[in-house]
């Protein structure tokens, strides 16, 4: 697990991480393995190391967007023209996406791959984050979208790799929710 996030991790998770691949390394490698080169994002504290490593790797075209739906538009256009993408965001960013999911990604059958860093639970300190988090799964369920909450390192690679492949082959969006149980999350520290 990344040193940068070490402070936010419970000790047990940290020890486990020392002999397993860090979650962000799993994501980066799964993106590469599945030839996903375009990664627009709206940043999140938990995603810092992943974003930094994707920027450092010339395989990827990665950049911040002003809004999450903008990123969804970009990867949708790119996929239709032959370039695969994935979007990184935080829970509150996902909450801005209902319209674009319902009017672009789902009806046009676009394999939109989203990694959502989960704020709002398991130690949240901002009430607004915990409220907006509660809207995420009902929105995903109401659109019958595939989604998984990733909590365990030992399952993570399987979930990520299989979900990406399923999205691409069935041309359906998927949301992979990165739980604080997996990432350590962000905690109140000052």
């Amino acid at each position: 697990m990344a040193a940068a996030e070490g402070q936010t991790l419970p000790k047990a998770l940290d020890e486990k991480a020392s002999h397993e691949k860090a979650w962000h390394e799993v994501v980066l490698q799964a993106l590469k393995r599945n030839d996903i080169r375009l990664v627009p994002y709206v940043p999140d504290r938990v995603l810092t190391t992943l974003i930094k490593n994707i920027h450092a790797d010339p395989f990827f075209t990665t950049f911040p967007t002003a809004r999450e739906e903008e990123a969804v538009g970009i990867v949708s256009g790119a996929w239709m023209a032959g370039l695969r993408g994935a979007v990184l965001m935080q829970t509150s960013g996902f909450a801005t996406l209902a319209n674009v999911l319902a009017s672009l990604a789902i009806p046009y059958q676009i394999p939109l791959i989203m990694f959502v860093s989960e704020r709002g639970t398991l130690g949240e300190f901002n009430y607004g984050q915990s409220l907006v988090c509660r809207t995420m799964r009902p929105v995903l369920d109401s659109l019958a979208m595939e989604h998984h909450t990733c909590t365990r390192s030992d399952e993570f690679e399987f979930i990520v790799d299989r979900s990406i492949k399923q999205a691409l082959t069935t041309q359906a969006p998927v949301a992979l929710i990165l739980s604080p149980l997996l990432t350590g999350g962000k905690v109140f520290d000052k």
Binding site: P40, T61, F63, G77, A78, N99, S103, P107, Y108
Partner: protein
Amino acid sequence: MNTATNPPARNTKVMNRFDLTSRLIAKLKNEEAVVGGIGNTNFDLWAAGHRPQNFYMLGSMGLAFPIALGVALAQPTRRVFALEGDGSLLMQMGCLSTIATLAPKNLTMIVMDNGVYQITGAQPTPAAAVADIVAIAAASGLSNSAWAADEEDFERLVEQSLSASAPTLIGVRIDDKPGIGTTRRDPVQIRERFMHGMGVREPL
């Protein structure tokens, strides 16, 4: 106070969306991609004559430029045009800076500015009386932004964009006429045909 029919004085002719779209389409000889924003913008793109390289949005207001950016990044050797309404662009102003930062030189953005939400009853936009979209684009980092003075100037700016070394934004003032046609609202076929047009799929 200015209204949609009395916008800020500019040396720009009030033109017509369908006429300008038809002029653009008539110029396309190299399977250029064209992304049409929601409502009248893609209705007139449809009416100008369907081509497999056209993509028609049926929702996701404001995403014509981001979708076109994705196409432009995926296929840097193909010219990509995006047609967007002023009201739509107001919803997604941030994309102008994203595009300026990435600077794909194969992207030409056209803003159809009538100052109103024509399709919902021609209510003025919040920007209609006060804002200049080309100035906003330039300030967002798209230095290659200009108003088209008239139809000839529009065609000249389109031609110029084909060999530009940076993304181009062309603002056109248009009247408040509705679109001429109505796009067939079949998203899967629209997307599939577009992918054929982009050369990434073969028909079944």
